[in-house]
């Protein structure tokens, strides 16, 4: 049985590799039939990709994107956390946060924030960070609110019977119980932020991968467009696969242990 499963899995994997290879071949064939600026072939994209990583200017843009994203994730995480805790401590604010603020932020489009931020702050790093943060905040609120709703009342009560310090209860009981939700928030934020960052930098930034994308778009430099997209795909996929998935498995193990 074990062997059969292993064999089936190997077969599946082989089929997937063949599929990837077939896609690359189709792409190559199609690209040879149309103009290079419409669809550059896999080879010219690969060449451009290596060029990208040997040019300090391009790598600099990539690190600026990193910087924008890290700052925006941190800011939105802190703001979202505080906004989520507010109705927990000030119960009258429950409806205000859950029914007014969150749906509003959640349905306001990212592009809207970017264009408004350009009008307000001009084209600079702050605009980009502001736009990304505004998109991420509702994700943080929704996740952390859900975590607060799932808190174990018995454990909270135990905490209250040990100390009357609200801060101690927050740091020693509430925040640790929220870990899975905080982790989910970070994970979602990271995935979304890359995609939003491109839009924000494209309209409101003067550096970063999105800015590069805008330049490439104006010059009809399709290989560079595909390289930027490829970089984003690689980043998002590999952080999911090699960072977030292992951590989540560890967390699941840890929780199962309890």
């Amino acid at each position: 049985m074990e062997n059969e499963n292993e064999a089936a899995r190997r077969l599946n994997r082989r089929a997937a590799h063949i599929f990837t290879f077939a896609c690359l071949c189709l792409w190559g064939i199609y690209s040879s039939l149309v103009e290079a600026y419409v669809m550059p072939g896999p080879w010219s994209v690969a060449v451009r990709f290596t060029e990208f990583f040997s040019d300090a200017n391009f790598i600099g843009h990539m690190f600026w994107s990193f910087f924008h994203i890290l700052v925006a994730i941190t800011a939105s995480f802190c703001v979202g956390f505080m906004l989520a805790l507010l109705p927990y401590y000030v119960t009258v604010a429950r409806k205000a946060v859950d029914r007014r603020l969150t749906p509003f932020l959640n349905s306001f489009s990212g592009i809207g924030w970017t264009l408004l931020a350009v009008l307000w702050f001009g084209i600079n790093d702050f605009t980009v960070i502001f736009a990304i943060s505004m998109v991420l905040i509702p994700f943080a609120i929704i996740n952390i609110r859900e975590g607060l709703r799932q808190l174990d009342n018995e454990i909270l009560e135990m905490g209250e019977s040990f100390t009357r310090s609200g801060f101690k209860n927050l740091m020693l009981i509430i925040v640790p119980s929220l870990y899975p939700y905080l982790f989910a928030t970070l994970r979602i934020s990271f995935g979304v932020s890359w995609k939003v960052a491109l839009t924000a930098e494209l309209f409101g930034g003067d550096r970063g991968l999105g800015y590069l994308l805008n330049l490439a778009r104006q010059d009809f430099d399709t290989p560079l467009i595909l390289v930027v997209i490829l970089i984003i795909i690689i980043f998002v996929y590999s952080t999911e696969r090699f960072i977030f998935n292992p951590i989540q498995n560890k967390l699941a193990e840890h929780n199962a242990g309890i």
């Binding site: 089936a8 077969l11 599946n12 994997r13 089929a15 997937a16 599929f19 990837t20 600026y37 419409v38 669809m39 119960t91 009258v92 604010a93 429950r94 409806k95 205000a96 029914r99 007014r100 603020l101 749906p103 509003f104 959640n106 349905s107 306001f108 489009s109 990212g110 592009i111 809207g112 264009l115 408004l116 350009v118 009008l119 307000w120 009342n153 009560e157 995935g191 890359w194 995609k195 491109l198 839009t199 494209l202 999105g210 994308l213 778009r217 009809f220 399709t222 467009i225 930027v228 997209i229 984003i232 795909i233 980043f235 998002v236 996929y237 999911e240």
Partner: protein
């Protein structure tokens, strides 16, 4: 301990806090609008238009036939894209169920690829590939929405009750019949969830998809407003989307969900 719990529950269900909640929530809305008004009073309308100016622009959008056309086109595109991407997501989710060999292909190649593809990337590529047209806008929307639908529907297929399917197989060997009479009804809640998510995401990315590849739509209004530094129109088009989104959720999605529940 019992006493503690009951008092806690009572405070949640009694009417006084509910009224206080409502009161506070409206207070926040009014407070924000007043704060916005106070802030905008000393700043030029070009940078920070007041609530009144934006309200006027918003009303204009829903009255002026030219703007109404744009709104209608955007709405129709959103509805079309949601339907297409739910169907595509369903097909992609069903392939591994029918051909187990394709499981890795769908879930470890196609899904992560579509999932991590940046939306602006689609928008720019669509214009290069298809020019500015309705098709390229809908292409972008479908490309972005399909992975969301796929994730939800694949989850639904995994949760299908195998016993019931087996019962179905013992009654008929006709796969299509089993699919229509058993699989689809059991999948319905997940289909509704997929529609709901796709609808919400689609309005958010409608603007992105319309920025480069459209000749009409709310995204075009917004971009035109931005290039002419008409901040109140930028604001108004954002609010218009919020309004239409909520109206659609109340008038279409929620009744649809109820209908599915009754079945």
């Amino acid at each position: 301990m019992q006493a503690f719990n009951t008092t806690n529950d009572q405070s949640k269900t009694s009417t006084f806090p509910a009224i206080a909640d409502s009161f506070f929530s409206w207070l926040l809305v009014i407070g924000l609008i007043v704060g916005w008004w106070a802030l905008s009073r000393n700043i030029s309308d070009l940078v920070m238009p007041g609530p009144l100016t934006v309200g006027k622009s918003l009303a204009e959008m829903f009255v002026d036939p030219v703007f109404l056309d744009d709104i209608l086109i955007s709405t129709l595109r959103v509805i079309g894209s949601v339907i297409i991407s739910v169907i595509l997501g369903l097909i992609l989710a069903l392939i591994p169920a029918r051909f187990p060999l394709a499981r890795v292909i769908v879930h470890e190649r196609i899904k992560p690829f579509l999932n991590s593809f940046p939306s602006v990337g689609w928008a720019i590529l669509a214009v290069i590939w298809f020019g500015a047209s309705d098709f390229s806008v809908m292409f972008v929307q479908v490309a972005i929405l399909t992975p969301f639908c796929l994730v939800n529907l694949a989850e639904g297929l995994r949760e299908l009750d195998q016993e019931i399917l087996e019962m179905g197989r013992s009654f008929t060997r006709n796969r299509i019949r089993i699919f229509i009479k058993i699989t689809i009804p059991m999948l319905l809640p997940y289909v509704i969830a997929a529609i709901r998510i796709a609808y919400g995401v689609c309005w958010k990315i409608a603007l992105v998809s319309e920025l480069f590849g459209a000749e009409s739509g709310i995204g075009v209004i917004m971009l035109r407003a931005q290039t002419t530094a008409n901040a109140s129109m930028v604001f108004a088009s954002c609010f218009a989307i919020v309004v239409i989104f909520m109206a659609g959720e109340k008038l279409i999605i929620n009744p649809l969900a109820k209908l599915a529940e009754q079945k």
